[in-house]
């Protein structure tokens, strides 16, 4: 198999994201995770392909569906799971939860819960790396639903005008909560938004993680050469409801099954299974993923909650009047 070592690395990460989230879903149903939990299951090839296309010195910004890219960039399962459990050992001290994964070390500038608001700030990050000349590229992920809100376009407009080193990745999973794509936007080819800003564009289906990596790399290199932003639309599908509380009655079982049949993780695994060496290696990786996820649950369970004295100290530096 081509690039067997990379294939195994990518497989491990995709499997880790999926198993991490399946266990998170279980913890949610046990009440250990509260509020909102948006799962990325089905879309893993995008985060993992992207992480393999980017350099460690590049930056990422994403939506609230943020577990996948956080793990793919290198956040530990422990820090992620503890955040979901609201524990002080979590990546955001347990103060944020599922939608607020941040990881400075891995240049992951956040999960963002207000739709679209993170695109202008991604443009600002890209501006700063251009300004400092550090050669970094920023990749910002957003959903198809986010294409209808103003901030998304303000971010693109600035990035194109200033020829910033940025890649806009529209993860088009064809639903914005319960509203399907064709009910929420007049032009369903999301990549055409690039034309309005004179940006380069690309569009493809996320069935093969290598293809995701390679096509994103083209956009990243374009940005790195100083040739400005690209909008890449990647067609994908979330297998679960919008969040844990969504029974997803707005779509048919057949539709979901149809997408599951074209699952990128299964496809990669089938490729690995085709040779005995890589098959054995993949099985060993499965075991290590299970151990890692189990450990993250144990770690999150055992960790303490944050204490109230953290709240103000995290809001401002220093004392303020009251």
């Amino acid at each position: 198999m081509k690039e067997a070592k990379t294939a195994l690395e990518m497989y491990r990460m995709m499997q880790l994201i999926r198993r991490f989230e399946e266990e998170a879903a279980r913890a949610y149903s046990l009440g250990k995770i509260g509020g909102f939990l948006h799962l990325y299951i089905g879309q893993e090839a995008i985060a993992v392909g992207a992480a393999h296309a980017l350099e460690a010195t590049d930056s990422v910004v994403t939506t609230y569906r943020d577990h996948g890219i956080a793990l793919a960039r290198g956040m530990t399962s422990n820090a992620g799971m503890a955040e979901l459990f609201g524990k002080v050992t979590g990546c955001s001290k347990g103060l944020g939860g599922s939608m607020h994964f941040f990881d400075k070390e891995h240049r992951m500038y956040g999960g963002h819960g207000i739709i679209g608001s993170h695109l202008p700030l991604a443009a600002g990050i890209a501006f700063a790396s251009k300004y400092t000349g550090d050669g970094g590229v920023t990749m910002v992920f957003y959903g198809d639903g986010a294409a209808s809100i103003g901030a998304t376009h303000e971010g693109m407009s600035l990035a194109a005008l200033w020829k910033l080193p940025i890649v806009f990745v529209c993860e088009n999973n064809q639903y914005s909560m319960g509203t399907s794509l064709e009910r929420s936007i007049s032009v369903t080819d999301m990549s055409t938004k690039a034309d309005a800003y004179g940006m380069a564009k690309d569009r493809f289906v996320a069935e093969d993680v290598f293809e995701v990596r390679d096509r994103l790399k083209v956009a990243i290199e374009r940005a790195r050469r100083g040739e400005g932003p690209t909008l890449v639309e990647i067609l994908t599908y979330r297998y679960r409801g919008h969040s844990m509380s969504d029974p997803a009655k707005y779509r048919t079982k057949e539709e979901v099954e149809d997408h599951k049949r074209r699952d990128a993780l299964n496809r990669l695994r089938a490729d690995l299974d085709a040779s005995t060496d890589t098959r054995a290696a993949a099985e060993a990786l499965d075991a290590s993923v299970e151990a890692e996820v189990a450990e993250s649950i144990r770690f999150a369970d055992a960790s303490p909650e944050p204490t109230a004295d953290l709240l103000e100290a995290t809001t401002y530096v220093g004392e303020f009047a009251r």
Partner: protein, 324 residues
Amino acid sequence: MTQMNMVQAINDALRFEMQRDDRIVVLGEDVGKVGGVFRVTAGLYDEFGDDRVIDTPLSEGGIIGAAIGMALYGLKPVPEIQFSDFIFPAYDQIVSELAKFRYRSGGEFPCPMVIRTPVGGGIRGGHYHSQSPEAQFIHVAGLKVVCPATPADAKGLLLSALRDPDPVMFFEPKRIYRAAKGEVPEGDYTVPIGKANVARQGEHVTLVTWGAMLYESLDAANKVQAEGVNVEIIDLRTLWPLDIDTVVASVKKTGRVVVVHEAPKTCGLGGEIVALINEKAFLYLEAPPKRVCGFDTPFPYTLENEYLPLSHRIVPALLETARY
């Protein structure tokens, strides 16, 4: 009378008025086919069709901006903002356009509409599914602000809001959407905007609150009753225009006041209430007014029960105020 929860009562009011007035149009994210994430608009799409119950794209500024245009042209839009935490992309439309339209056009273009939106904590939603921004809309002249705490008030105030000549922000405390149940009058039933309700009679301390914290306040009042402190609770129901007369009459009787709200303390509505009490009943006060509120921090994912002014935080404030 029918037993209903808040969701049912609001749904009932919308349906009743939509049958009566075909200028009413409901719009928002997933309000139609899905019936709203909290199911508040359930059934309206089937009954009134997609002309009148509109699933919009994810576009708060667009939703409110378009609703303003509809209102200017004579419709009665009822936009839903899925969580009040998501209202800020539309804040410009609300503050710069909606609130000022009547004034800006010399009274020629009123802009009646009701913006419905769930508010407050209690579902472990963290920063973006828990906030209480009501005071931020009161600080903008031109908006009325309502926040019911019981199903009957929810229905009665919503019907009043739908008939009001000015824009009304209608905050629905999501924590008690299903938990608060009660008798709701059938058919046409209104509760006047601008009138508070004395939810509990008492003579030692006045407690002013609204929304979901009414129930925490009642719980706290029952607890301190055992210690001989008799609390009068005022449920404001309408936050603006504020029924300060009802508050002041109570404070003149008790001489002591505690305000309870979920929003951060600083520049919250509690501050304005205390200032008005000082202006109107200063010489009657026998203890410094107290506020039991959210902290001056973002709303945390964990520590929600510390952040919120729940009964365990209200009780000591009542005792301290009563014994001052």
